[in-house]
């Protein structure tokens, strides 16, 4: 069981490094045990450097870079140990358009193995959806679900004509 934990960790570590490179279009990142001799008690260290930059503490990463690194780790866990369905609530909030695009492309790949349900305000993420649900409040304080077509969303990803739904 220690072995199983170490094996899972190894798998996650490997996926993390390659998923990071894919999300950032380069660079390098790894996770490892602070004390490899005691995997069951040791803390876990993360090193990450976006392309063209030097290794420095991950605390110095920008908001968007932290999100991308965290997403790489989360998806590494998904790859090592797939969940049948996954639920992500506004994970793309801090991402600019280019990072959102890379995030979405990777999300598309992962949907081959698992079902993903994602809450987002980003039009670019919505464009990748195979199914779109709108949640609105035509009566104040009471939620209602509506099915939405991509064409009903305006340039900013908002449901352009709520009254028509």
């Amino acid at each position: 069981s220690t072995q199983m934990f170490v094996d899972t960790f190894e798998a996650v570590s490997e996926h993390f490094s390659s998923i990071f490179r894919r999300l950032f279009g380069g660079g390098k990142a790894e996770i490892f045990f602070e004390d490899p001799a005691c995997p069951l008690e040791s803390g876990i260290e993360i090193k990450a450097r976006p392309p063209g930059k030097e290794f420095r503490s991950i605390t110095l990463l920008s908001g968007g870079e932290r999100t991308m690194t965290a997403v790489a780790l989360l998806f590494a866990i998904f790859r090592a140990h797939p969940a049948p369905c996954a639920f992500l609530d506004e994970v793309d909030a801090a991402l600019d358009e280019d990072n959102t695009e890379r995030f979405c492309l990777m999300l598309e790949d992962f949907t081959a193995e698992s079902q993903f349900v994602v809450v987002t305000h980003s039009k670019r993420t919505m464009e990748k959806a195979t199914l779109l649900y709108g949640v609105t409040m035509p009566e104040r304080g009471v939620s209602r679900r509506v099915a939405v077509q991509l064409e009903q969303l305006n340039a900013e990803g908002q449901i352009a004509d709520l009254a028509s739904l």
């Binding site: 993360i46 140990h81 969940a83 369905c85 639920f87 809450v119 919505m126 779109l132 949640v135 009471v142």
Partner: protein, 166 residues
């Protein structure tokens, strides 16, 4: 296995019985204005699957999730959620090829669980979803604003995040 359908009735802002059908595979996006109920949908799923900590549902007590009224509607006395899974792949710890999980909570605080119509205990729900990442606090759920905690600021905390996953 995959998620087929979610039905919520009386959960937070979902005063009316509301059904979400999901497709096998693919990417489903949930969109809409601020404060309209998107995060409530995800919390409903976690709640049905056995989330017991009110703070994880942005609440102080478990009964806070029952629709508690608007200027035009009175509070409700009961909150109910149902999730239907396709289990053809046998991922869930049961012989059933379709698994329907239901949870209810009353104003008294009394809560009950049903699987395919039969009453079960919270423990049975947890055993059913063990190893899928879908249990309460599982790695299959990333709550709003929490992505940053995946890179928890100290090595020991990070390990805790990791152990939940592995």
């Amino acid at each position: 296995m995959h998620l087929k359908r979610l039905i919520v009735h009386g959960f937070k802002s979902f005063a009316d019985r509301t059904v979400f059908d999901f497709e096998r595979g693919g990417l489903t996006c949930v969109v809409g204005p601020n404060g309209c109920g998107k995060s409530n949908v995800f919390e409903a799923i976690r709640w049905v699957l056995g989330e017991q900590r009110p703070t994880s549902l942005r609440s102080r007590e478990l009964t806070d999730v029952i629709f508690n009224g608007t200027v035009r509607r009175p509070p409700m006395g009961l909150c109910q959620g149902t999730i239907v899974f396709d289990n053809e792949s046998g991922t869930l710890q049961t012989d059933a090829t379709e698994v329907e999980v239901t949870r209810r909570v009353f104003r008294s605080g009394e809560t009950d669980y049903l699987v395919n119509g039969s009453p079960v205990r919270l423990k049975d729900i947890r055993d059913l979803f063990a190893g899928t990442g879908l249990g309460a606090g599982g790695y299959a759920f990333m709550e709003q604003g929490r992505i940053d905690q995946v890179l928890a600021s100290n090595a020991v905390e990070r390990r805790r995040v990791f152990e939940e996953a592995a």
